[in-house]
């Protein structure tokens, strides 16, 4: 009988180049030294591709820290670079970690926030303020105030309304001014789409003790749930993220909070803003990036320590956004 050729089981199905295996092994050793690997995160059978083993461990770590999210979609990327030289100095292999969020799309928050504001003055504003503040420390979200900043950037020469732009383009010509105003995004459009408190201002947020009192006395479970989520968000004390050292405009927003179904202003402004930014080519999408020498386990350990509260804050923020986007808030 004809004997079929067989491949010896000792021949591997995949070959991992030695240099790449070595880089992967160095990273794996560093993760072990940083103390983030435990038995539950280890792949059942660690293969010869150490990078893949690292990937399994890191994915497990992120899943454990973030849990199941309903709105936000954070991502992490890790790029290993070979040893080389920089300005004549030998540089060992390094690793760049980048993180950010993919967009969850456009969701309406007007009904929920107006409901909360009716329930207790400044409550809707407080929710929006806290959400905005914490989002800028984790995964930024387009809110009405940020959309208005975008409008200022795109149409109003950085001013708070269109007057300067009209002055620049039309001078004193009243007809031209009117024609231009009719075709552009104006401050009045914002004022008619959003309540004043949603566009910023200096009103003091509702304090934590008052929030607890409102939650306890609220007969509406939705209000109590939102306050519970809000207190969770406030409970994570994250340092302010310094965006100023990043070059260009940030466009990696994790979602858009429009006001209502009839709110066409938000998408119009954001379309124009993102087109302007993409044409300029001067933008960035990641919320954070860090380059670490592959063997520097102490810096790795510090990064993981910093990312634990980041993940807690992201989880809490996700809960809050979900609360105000979901459900029927139109009925009292």
């Amino acid at each position: 009988m004809f004997q079929l050729p067989v491949v010896d089981p000792g021949i591997p199905c995949a070959l991992v180049p030695q240099a790449s295996r070595r880089r992967g092994a160095l990273l794996a050793r560093t993760l072990l030294n940083a103390g983030i690997v435990d038995a539950a995160l280890m792949p059942a059978r660690p293969g010869p591709d150490h990078l893949r083993n690292c990937q399994t461990v890191l994915e497990g770590w992120v899943r454990r820290e973030l849990g199941a999210l309903r709105m936000l979609r954070p991502y992490f990327a890790l790029n290993l670079r070979e040893a080389g030289s920089d300005a004549g100095h030998a540089v060992g292999p390094s690793c760049t970690i980048e993180w950010g969020g993919e967009s969850f799309g456009v969701r309406c928050v007007g009904p929920a926030l107006e409901f909360l504001e009716r329930h207790q003055p400044r409550l809707g504003r407080t929710v929006l303020q806290v959400l905005e503040r914490q989002a800028f420390r984790t995964l930024p979200i387009y809110t009405p105030a940020i959309v208005m900043e975008c409008a200022s950037d795109v149409y109003w020469y950085g001013e708070s309304d269109e007057d300067m732009a009209l002055e620049e383009a039309c001078g004193d010509d009243a007809d031209e001014r009117k024609a231009m105003r009719d075709n552009m995004v104006t401050r009045a459009m914002f004022d008619s789409t959003f309540p004043g408190w949603a566009l910023g201002g200096r009103s003091r947020p509702v304090g934590r003790r008052t929030l607890q009192h409102i939650a306890e006395s609220a007969s509406d479970r939705r209000v109590a749930n939102v306050i519970e989520s809000l207190i969770s968000v406030l409970g994570v004390d994250l340092p302010n993220y310094d965006w100023s050292f990043r070059e260009g405009r940030f466009v990696g927003f994790s979602g858009v909070l429009a006001w209502g179904r009839e709110d066409e202003l938000t998408t119009r402004v954001l379309d124009d803003y993102e087109q302007m930014v993409s044409e300029s080519g001067d933008y960035f999408e990641t919320c954070g990036e860090l380059t670490i020498a592959v063997e520097d386990h102490e810096t790795f350990a510090r990064w993981f320590d910093a990312m634990r509260p980041w993940c807690r804050a992201t989880r809490a923020l996700d809960g809050l956004i979900w609360q105000i986007c979901e459900g029927d808030w139109s009925a009292k």
Binding site: L4, I11, C13, V16, A19, R21, A28, V37, A39
Partner: protein
């Protein structure tokens, strides 16, 4: 009073060889202790990682084709998934 470890708790303490993390750490240390450029390393340097990866994918494809998942005519000659019948003459 200072607590003493019972013999049973001493027995149940994890041994290094039972701990997958310690086992993997030891394996990494052995691997990293090897000189970086062996014969395989020299070959890779000569061939280039991209080409080697390409060759590796061809070998992988070949292995897959021989072991199972045949396509086209060979699919018809299969009785049990993953095992080939003798070729038809």
């Amino acid at each position: 009073m200072a607590s003493r470890k019972s013999p049973s708790s001493a027995r149940s303490a994890p041994r290094a060889e039972d701990d997958p993390v310690a086992r993997y750490a030891a394996r990494l240390d052995r691997f990293l202790a090897q000189p970086g450029e062996g014969e395989a390393g020299a070959l890779e340097a000569a061939v280039g990682e991209a080409k080697l990866a390409f060759v590796s994918s061809i070998v992988h494809q070949f292995a897959e084709d021989v072991r199972g998942q045949p396509h086209g005519d060979r699919q018809d000659r299969m009785v049990v998934r993953g095992a080939l019948l003798p070729p038809l003459f």
